[in-house]
Assembly symmetry: none
Homo-oligomer: 345 residues x 2
């Protein structure tokens, strides 16, 4: 969406032009009773003349306290339990919701199209006061659905994926580049990456950033595979990389989460390869798992709990009338521990 006039014109301007209170403008746009037909028409005319449209929050501004917000997750139920990311994210969301005596309505869906339908049903049925949207794809149908419903949402995803929606996001490209630079600075020339789900927008960005960084640094190999984020898939990918011919075998592997890096550590041990002596491993997200292994896992540290909390705080901001915006959270930072070192020889 192009820059919206509403970022310059406010409800106050509309009220002044129509000669009414801000409350009257809100009543008119929420189609609530209490205004004469003539007043309503005058308000709509003033808004048209000024190019003003009610922002996404107009409806909830005028309604009662929000005590439920929604979160749909588009993953198989089994997967949800297997990855620390979502529970940490949900725990961060809950930490803010609790301060507002607000509950989280959680639902697993199979497709983002199903989620778009669910959002409409939740919203029309007055079950939620707003929703947190996660795991954006290219051309994600939830963007249009949330816009059409004029429903308060926060989109957890890069602004290039989330249209006009208020977004909270991490700079994945910069973090991937830092990871590759760090390993290259240690002397690694064959660096591989075990990535997440290929359909997700942020996986696409990380993959492109990894390729670009490898090219810039003139690295011999930039072997990348997509997985479903599970430890089993991480183990399979690691095994296939470490059994390659010596000339192709990576000396350092970056993972898109931490459970796959833990699995990679076990695969190296089962193959009799030392970490970091024979192969360096670098995890992502950095849940407590990374500090519970031996050696401890170097990681791109990302405060996932804080990410969830920021998403919830931003949603409450949208609900209470903040304009749309883009809220980057801190970029994951390199935390070197025991699993990365210069390559041998």
């Amino acid at each position: 969406m192009t820059a919206s006039p509403s970022s310059r014109v406010t409800i106050k301007d509309v009220a002044a032009r129509a000669g009414v209170s801000k409350g009257a403008v809100s009543l008119a746009f929420n189609r609530k009773p209490g205004l004469s037909e003539a007043t309503r028409d005058r308000i709509f005319a003033a808004a048209r003349e000024l190019g003003w449209e009610p922002n996404l929050t107009a409806r909830s501004l005028s309604s009662s306290r929000v005590d439920v917000v929604g979160l749909a997750i588009c993953r198989p139920a089994r997967m949800l339990g297997l990855e620390p990311f979502y529970m940490e994210f949900v725990s961060g969301v809950e930490s803010v919701l609790t301060e507002h005596s607000c509950s989280l309505l959680l639902r697993l869906v199979r497709t983002v199209e199903e989620e778009a339908g669910l959002l409409e049903s939740w919203w029309r049925g007055r079950q939620i006061g707003g929703s947190i949207l996660v795991d954006f794809r290219a051309d994600d149908p939830r963007v249009a659905a949330a816009e059409r419903l004029a429903m308060p949402v926060v989109a957890v995803g890069h602004p290039t994926l989330t249209g006009s929606l208020t977004s909270v996001w991490t700079d994945d490209a910069t973090a991937v580049t830092e990871a590759v630079r760090y390993l290259a600075a240690l002397g690694h020339r064959r660096i591989a990456r075990v990535g997440g789900a290929a359909a997700l927008g942020h996986t696409v960005m990380r993959t492109a950033a990894f390729d670009a960084a490898a090219r810039t640094l003139g690295l011999a190999g930039a072997w990348q595979v997509a997985t479903d984020y599970s430890g089993e898939a991480g183990a399979r990918a690691t095994r296939s990389m470490l059994t390659a011919a010596p000339a192709d075998r990576p000396t350092a592997i970056v993972y898109d989460n931490d459970i796959m890096a833990v699995a990679g550590l076990a695969v190296a041990a089962e193959m009799g390869l030392g970490v970091p002596g024979d192969v360096s491993l670098l995890a992502w997200d950095d849940s407590q798992l990374c500090r519970l292994t031996h050696p401890t896992l170097s990681a791109m540290s990302h405060d996932v709990h804080g990410f969830g909390a920021e998403a919830a705080r931003t949603l409450f901001g949208v609900i209470t009338g903040s304009g749309p915006g883009s809220h980057p959270v801190p970029t994951p930072v390199l935390t070197p521990r025991g699993s990365t070192a210069p390559p041998r020889g």
Copy 2:
């Protein structure tokens, strides 16, 4: 909130404006099939224009279908993200809820007293059709609260803790006894246990069963400590046990979850002790973590996903009128892997 226009506008007005019957309005707001998308939209538009909201009492009376069930968890938000158990349990609950197009209303609470109040508010506000109660204490106030409200609930806990409520539970005492017997059969005489939160009913039962089994088998040591289930606490407890004088040092340790066992494995490695050569480790719950370590972790395997699914199925049974009952799920079974062996020497 001021008096709402909906106190004057009735379902009849909405039906008239939309040109449909009252029954059709009810169908739309209860999200029941039988209406075209266009009709449904017209009804929602009419309701919006009139500022009408469905009367919640009428709504639930007219709808036997439950579309939201509650789950409150009494743990600090930070802890929730750190332990695989809850996310696996929730994923099992969601797998059954999804079949019923039902969502989960999730809330973190600080105390079970707060939860008892929340249940009342959820139930009286018609926000949920029933609730799953977890983590029972002795004399748990939620038993009386659920009885008083005559609210459909399933209590996840041993029948001795859950009063007249329908319960779903695992036989923890039998599983602990099996774990101790197995380690003793391998030849261990000094067996320790790193337990969960001391306030929880099932921790009390496991502690008593562990002591009883050790006495029966005439074991020298039955060292038990309570923790908060975190990896950090598991590491601390393991370090303290493994630095004891040789005559006191356990040769086998049982953990109450898997993340603490993973942490114990790292502590042994950092101290230069071999697993299972110098010390055997036995995990609990057996999430995928146990198969991703090296050596792999022997565990008391418990299908936590299936446990959550059974709790949800039982709740739907209660909602549709099954009498109260007690539903044991399969007892955790010993799954020997690489981390347990006879003691050295």
